[in-house]
């Protein structure tokens, strides 16, 4: 959605990019809960780090998210000339 401000000059590519972004996000939404719940079950049953292994993984995931968020520009992208 935010993509629209960053898309390449062709207006027709908007739908393609938007659809692609939604697909990627949908995959993440599918994987996320299943992976987190399984990780919690794994770290509790195997007693990895006293069952706290899942939180370590999730906190490192937050760090990855922060490093990606730091790539965002200070202002909205406006592609040249328009």
């Amino acid at each position: 959605m935010y993509v629209s401000s960053a898309t390449p000059p062709n207006k027709r590519s908007l739908g393609t990019v938007n659809g692609f972004a939604q697909s990627v996000a949908a995959v993440q939404r599918t994987v996320g809960p299943a992976a987190a719940d399984s990780l919690f079950a794994f770290s509790v049953t195997k007693n990895v780090l006293d069952g706290n292994f899942v939180y370590v993984v999730l906190l490192s995931l937050v760090c990855v998210g922060l490093s990606i968020a730091a790539q965002l520009p200070r202002h909205v992208w406006v592609h040249g000339g328009r």
């Binding site: 629209s4 207006k11 393609t16 987190a36 922060l66």
Partner: protein, 250 residues
């Protein structure tokens, strides 16, 4: 292919990609107003450049309706750095949000000795409804002021960083629950739960950022179909996100 044919193809392609029929004339008008000289002349060359030899040959043999589907540039050429960063951010935010929303009912209902809180379904339902109320109030009252004061980037980074608080609350809550007298939830636990839900509400503001950016860019360019599309996208997002806590909070 003559240039006038390219232009016709381009116009037809534009109209075909309008998301809804009602805005057909609007899109045509906006196209003529805002994109007339540059786009119509500039659009065809990338198609030529990006399509390979086989596409070129096949495009000679197929009829016009099939050519329309070939005019958009390939996906690979669209994945510039801004687009990739945006998609990566959006998907990371989705992943974190879904992870938190899936973990909260699971961990709250897990027995204390297994690292959970052992809360009753009634308490979990109360907590989730509290989160719903707080999320709504935040989106409505706090989010616009924060954006106006600190900017969208700051809000987004905060909404990612606050996930660390959400996840760090789980072991803390479990620790409080282990030391609670009689194993019953005490005031400290409710305070931590409130903090966790408050963080989750702040985290939700990241999605508001995506919507507001789309909206502002649409308003700036005065493209009505695009704005319709943005509002529809926001609605889709809300519909896909909102039922989740209700069903998993059972």
């Amino acid at each position: 292919m003559p240039r006038s044919g390219c232009i016709l193809l381009c116009v037809v392609g534009h109209c075909c990609f309008v998301p809804e029929r009602g805005s057909f004339s609007l899109s045509f008008k906006s196209l003529a107003e805002h994109h007339d000289p540059q786009t119509l002349i500039r659009t065809p060359p990338p198609v030529r450049v990006n399509s390979d030899v086989t596409q070129e040959v096949s495009s000679e043999t197929v009829d016009t309706s099939q050519k329309d589907t070939q005019t958009p540039p390939p996906l690979r050429s669209l994945l510039t750095r801004p687009v990739l960063v945006t998609i990566a951010n959006y998907s990371t935010l989705s992943l974190l949000e879904m992870t938190a929303v899936a973990l909260i009912p699971l961990i709250w209902s897990t027995p204390v000795e297994f690292g959970g809180l052992g809360l009753s379904p009634v308490s979990i339902g109360l907590g989730m409804s509290l989160y719903g109320c707080m999320g709504g109030i935040f989106q409505f009252a706090v989010f616009p002021r924060l954006v106006a004061r600190f900017g969208l980037r700051w809000v987004f980074v905060t909404s990612v960083a606050i996930c660390a608080v959400i996840f760090a609350m789980f072991p803390l809550e479990n620790l409080v629950m282990r030391h609670a007298i009689g194993g019953r939830p005490n005031a400290t636990l409710w305070l931590l739960i409130f903090l966790q839900l408050w963080s989750l509400s702040i985290h939700k503001m990241g999605f508001g950022k995506f919507v507001i950016l789309q909206h502002s860019s649409a308003v700036r360019r005065r493209l009505s179909p695009l704005r319709n599309y943005a509002i529809r996208q926001a609605l889709c997002l809300c519909m896909s996100v909102l039922p989740r806590p209700r069903t998993s909070g059972r």
